[in-house]
Symmetry: C2
Subunit: 444 residues, 2 copies
Amino acid sequence: MTGKLDQLRRDAVAIFQAGLAAVAPGAAIRRFCQLEEGVLRVNGKSYPLDAFNRVVVLGTGKGGASMAKAMEELLGEHISEGLITVKYRHLEQLSTIELIEAGHPLPDMNGHAGARRIFQLASQADEKTLVICLISGGGSALLPLPVAGVSLDDKQQTTKVLLACGATIHEMNTIRKHLSAIKGGGLARAVYPATLITLILSDVVGDDLDSIASGPAVPDPTTYADCLSILDRYAIRQQLPSTVLRHLEDGAAGTVPETPKRGDRIFSRTDNVIIARNCDALIAAKRKAAELGYHTLALSSMLEGDTRESAAMHMAIAREVARYELSVAKPACILSGGETTVTIKGTGKGGRSQEFALAAALKMGEMKNSVVLCAGTDGTDGPTDAAGAISDSSTLEQARSLGLDPAAYLENNDAYHFFHALGSLYITGPTNTNVMDLRLILVG
Amino acid sequence: MTGKLDQLRRDAVAIFQAGLAAVAPGAAIRRFCQLEEGVLRVNGKSYPLDAFNRVVVLGTGKGGASMAKAMEELLGEHISEGLITVKYRHLEQLSTIELIEAGHPLPDMNGHAGARRIFQLASQADEKTLVICLISGGGSALLPLPVAGVSLDDKQQTTKVLLACGATIHEMNTIRKHLSAIKGGGLARAVYPATLITLILSDVVGDDLDSIASGPAVPDPTTYADCLSILDRYAIRQQLPSTVLRHLEDGAAGTVPETPKRGDRIFSRTDNVIIARNCDALIAAKRKAAELGYHTLALSSMLEGDTRESAAMHMAIAREVARYELSVAKPACILSGGETTVTIKGTGKGGRSQEFALAAALKMGEMKNSVVLCAGTDGTDGPTDAAGAISDSSTLEQARSLGLDPAAYLENNDAYHFFHALGSLYITGPTNTNVMDLRLILVG
């Protein structure tokens, strides 16, 4: 590798790390929450702690442990009690708040037990209780609490039917919310009439509050009638567990209460604050790139869609920068965020970020002095121990010299082993945050 | 429609038209070629016309007629003779140069006869002849001249086999060039030792000279051995017409001469000049947008890939502009060029630009005051009479009020009828140029 490429790779890592630092839960909580003379200020609102008898911290998600730690550092002994479900081994040393390890992405009985205890704590909160709820990505799976009469198995069976029939994520969430005691505003209902502050780390494209962890503390815009329409759209009524079908039909008939809706008084004492989102990481990374002397183009924090198509489009932009400096002058840093998907056809190992880096390498054409880094901000890319990968304008040549066929690795969805062989996996370990992915392309 | 949207739509059309004007063949030829005191200057090189006994104009492609007209306007009576194959009804009134109408996209016997006559004229050119060759998109189909022993039918049969086995466009061109007397440098070989100036309107992403009209006047980097590798990669030797297989095998065995290669003396008197390309249109459109007061972001002239994926990515960028002015400030004009593909699953009518405009409308989310215009610079989008379509932030509402389901139209690849109903097809008629597509998004 030339010295120039080496420098670009170091810059790429520094830029990514700057993005990551901006969305670390501790930093994010400190940015939005301050304690001054017994008054908790959250995003401009004031909560005098002596107005409350108890401060209870609840929550769920991959960032739960770090968020809890930052909250303990902020509120210390003001916290009366706390309970948060987190992913296995995503732990921190805490004083008051209890962490419950639970299954993710598949919910398990640990999560169920944790959710039941959290719901109980929420229900016990009274007018003199301040409840602080910490939500981050993964919360849907880590906080499973089916409505009365529906078992966790029934709910999982329902998820399988919905996946098999091709329902969209929005449709799945609509039904999930109506089968949960805690999602779709259920937590806010349980907490009422206590005061509820929800601090949110967004792992959802567009940052819709009712999508992040299925919106436990926000109004649900969907209805039981919507649920039945979905069942009929895919003709799956008969495939659902009878308990599930009965609950949804009862709901539509009005014999079971709807999920809380906008304007409901239970939301009169709730405040939802997104404390970190993909765009924050993107903007911080962009700033760092500018500091390092790059002209920057941050495309969007909302990129979705097929990973290879996305890689091709990014490289079409980058190649035009290399050739004509069309969108931005050289040396350039092109950045984007969001979360793409991988269509798995092969039998290899990888994740969307590694697949992006490999697909991008194959689209570099005549580019020189160019580096691509993409990684998940949670430190995990697919079922691998890497956060992502780094490719550059020497990657194809390097692969040739090792006798590797990059196109064949891509075809087999085996980017992990490709980059492993090249020593170009990007490994961060768990970051305790999660605002989807960052991608950056340096054109030197 | 609000007055604001109306203004944005007018601006969008003005921006597209400015892009189009920059790649009109006449303007492009005048930009690169001047005649001064009997000396023809082409892109910095000088050709004193009195050094030649004859000036012969040959050519092919959708822009052929306009290019020929511009050349007659420039050289007038200096032109001794001329022959160009064009698409049916793509004609102009000319004095000396003869136009032959021929089949496109499927070659026909008219094209074959025209190609034979053009090859003959080229072969007759001697040291004292100046040959000016005018090449534009569509030339591959409009100039079919199989090598001796292979019929047009055999060649077409070969194309079908290659399409069916999933060969890439690059692989198809490799074999095509080795079955053609005129492609892959064949025309340059026929013209030698005459002087050859080739003026090219590029309709190829990346503007590779050997891809445009299969490179009749440039060295061919591919070989007969490559052809056999391709046949074996797809195991299709036995499916090819025996004449074709024999020719390729003879070529690989060295009993038939290779296509001309880089360094061959036949290229010592040739000059290839791209006079217009997608990026020229893109930059002119960008300049017009800036004149109209928009902040501009021209992404790339090299966009390819799936149309809907591309639309989603463009709108992710546009939505982020609407929300945070991330990549560019409002009012913004985001532009791109190149050529996407449509995966046809439905039975409707449309083209890639109309499909893009519809897919983009479905991805506008909460955007207000936004307009999307995409169209082919040749004035034709797929098998329709429209160049493309215009959608905007009122399109979905308008569709609802007419009882149309935009997602269903998209699913059925029926964007033409959708935009026809809305009165939002963009119709220019034939433009006599062809540098692929332009897309622009205005965020007011």
